[in-house]
C-alpha cells in the first residue's frame, strides 16, 4: 500500500510518516519511508511517503498513491495528481478545499481542542488514517509513538493519536 502524507513544513508530516513506517516494521512488514521537502523549514511543502507491503518493495517513489492525507492546501495542490483515481483522499476539512471525493475531519481544530497544541495535528490525522485503513494495528502505532516522539511528549501525542483514531472509527 502506498500512502502519501502532504502538508506544509512545521505540521510534523515527516514524523507522522516515520511513526507509521515504524509501526509497520514492528509488525514485521516490509516498509520504505521517504520524504521530500523544500529547503524552507517552515511553510514550504512537506511530503512523507510510506510504502508498506508483505512483498519486497521495489517502487520507492509513490506514483499511484492508494491513500493521500492532505493537511494543507499547498500539500494537496502539490500531490493531488499522485493519488490514483479510486484512491482514498483524507483531508483536514477546515484547511483543504479538494476538487474530488474525500473523507476527513478538522484535524487541526481537533488537535487544538484536545491537547491545546495545533502541532499535534499530525498524530490526530495519523489516528484517523489508521482507523480508516487498518493498514497497521493501533497498538503498533502507539508503540512507535513511544519510541519516536521527543521524551516527555509521549502522553500528549498518544492522546492526539487516540482522538484521531476515535474520529476515524465513527
Amino acid at each position: 500500500m502506498q500512502i502519501r502524507l502532504a502538508g506544509i513544513g512545521g505540521q510534523g508530516v515527516v514524523l507522522a510518516g516515520v511513526i507509521l513506517g515504524e509501526a509497520a516494521a514492528i509488525e514485521g512488514l516490509n516498509v520504505v519511508q521517504t520524504q521530500d521537502y523544500s529547503s524552507a523549514s517552515r511553510g514550504g511543502h512537506s511530503i512523507a511517503d510510506v510504502v508498506i507491503s508483505k512483498e519486497p518493495i521495489y517502487d520507492l517513489i509513490v506514483t499511484k498513491a492508494d491513500v493521500l492525507v492532505a493537511l494543507a492546501q499547498l500539500g494537496y495542490d502539490t500531490t493531488k495528481d499522485s493519488l490514483r483515481k479510486d484512491g482514498l483522499l483524507i483531508i483536514d476539512t477546515d484547511l483543504v478545499k479538494p476538487d474530488r471525493e474525500f473523507i476527513g475531519a478538522p484535524f487541526t481544530r481537533i488537535a487544538e481542542e484536545t491537547t491545546g497544541l495545533a502541532l499535534t495535528v499530525n498524530m490526530v490525522a495519523l489516528g484517523y488514517l489508521v482507523a480508516k485503513t487498518g493498514v497497521v494495528k493501533k497498538e503498533s502505532v502507539e508503540e512507535a509513538i513511544r519510541r519516536r516522539v521527543p521524551k516527555g511528549t509521549e502522553d500528549i501525542n498518544l492522546k492526539a493519536f487516540r482522538v484521531g483514531y476515535e474520529e476515524g472509527s465513527k
Binding site: V18, Q33, T34, Y58
Partner: protein
Amino acid sequence: MKYPFPVGKSDFIQGDEAIARAAILAGCRFYAGYPITPASEIFEAMALYMPLVDGVSIQMEDELASIAAVIGASWVGTKAMTATSGPGFSLMMENLGYAIMTETPIVVVDVQRSGPSTGQPTLAAQGDVMQAIWGTHGDHSLIVLTPATVQEAFDMTIRAFNLAEKYRTPVILLTDAEVGHMREKVDIPNPEDVELVYRKLPANEEEAKYPFGDIHGDLIPPMPIFGKGYRTYVTGLTHDEKGRPKTVDAEIHRKLIERIVNKIEKNKKDIIEYETFDLDDAEVAIISYGIVARSAIRAVKMLRSEGIKAGLLKLNVVWPFDFEMIEKIAEQVNAIYVPEMNLGQVYHLVKEGANGKARVELIPKIGGEVHTPQEIVKAVKRCEKCI
C-alpha cells in the same frame, strides 16, 4: 561489549544511520569528518555512538584533513572511516591516492548528491562513479561498493571494512541521498555473528622490515602498526619494499604499482558481488546498480508481463569490474540497457565489456529523482521497437 543501539533485532532506520551502526559493529573506532548534506546523519550518529564504545569521532577543519586523520588512525591499528558527499569527495581525492599508494585500509563513504560543484544538496544522483574509481591521479585500483537498500548499506559497510583490511586498500561505499535518507527495516545481527577481518600484521621483526614487499606471495604485505615496536617509513613517493623513497627507478615503480593494481585485479572473483533476476533466458538485459536497481527489478517484471524477455544484472560492486561476465551476457542477449542517475558512467564500462556483441543503450536521468520502473520500461520498449 555493550552497544549504544539495539543488536540482534530489526530496527526502522535511515541508510546513513545504518552505515554508522554497521561501521561500529565492523570494529570502526575512529571517525573524522566534516558535515555535509546528505551524509551528515552518519557524522551525527558517530558523534553520538563513538564515545560510548571507547572510540573517537572528531570534526576536522575540512575534508582534506578528515581523510588524512583517518589514514593516520589506520596506521596505529584502528579501523577508521570518513563520510562525505560530492563536494567533500572531490577534496578527498588527493589523500585517497595517498591511501592507495601507502596501502592503508580505510573506508570512505560518498553519499552522492547532484553535482558538479554544490549542485542539488538534498537530491540523489549517481554522478560520482567514475570519480570514485578514477578521481585520484596516477595508475591505481581500489574497491567501490554500491548498496541499493538500507539493509545493503548496512551489510556492505561491514563488507567494506573487511575488504579494506583483507586487501590493505581504501574501499569506497558509494551510496546516494535516496538510500542515505530513506528509512527501512534493517536486521541488525548479534555482534558475535558478524564475521570480521583484520589486517595481516608482521609475524616477526624480519617481516616488519618489508611493509611494502610481497613477502607471502599473495601481493598483500603485512602492515606494521605504529607503536608496536617496529620502525616504518610511510610515504606517497614511489618506494621500495622497505618503504624507502626510490623516485627515479622505473623497475621499482613498475613493481609497486603493478602489485597495488594486481592485488585487486587478481582477486576480482573474491571481491565482486552481483545478483541476477530472470537473466538466464533473457533476450534483453538491464544492468543496474544502487538505488536504480530497485526500479529495474520492477521494470523487468513489467516487461516480462508484456512479453519482452527481460532480465537484470544488479551490480553490488562497480570496481573492480567483470568485463568478461558482461561479454558473456552480451553474447546471450540482443540488447543491454543501463539506467543510471547520470549522463553515462557505468554505461561505458558495460559497453567495453559487451565488446560489440550486443547493442548497449544508456537510460540516463539527472535532476535528483530515481528512475521510475515505468520510465525504464518505456525506454526499453521505445528502443526495442526501433530495431
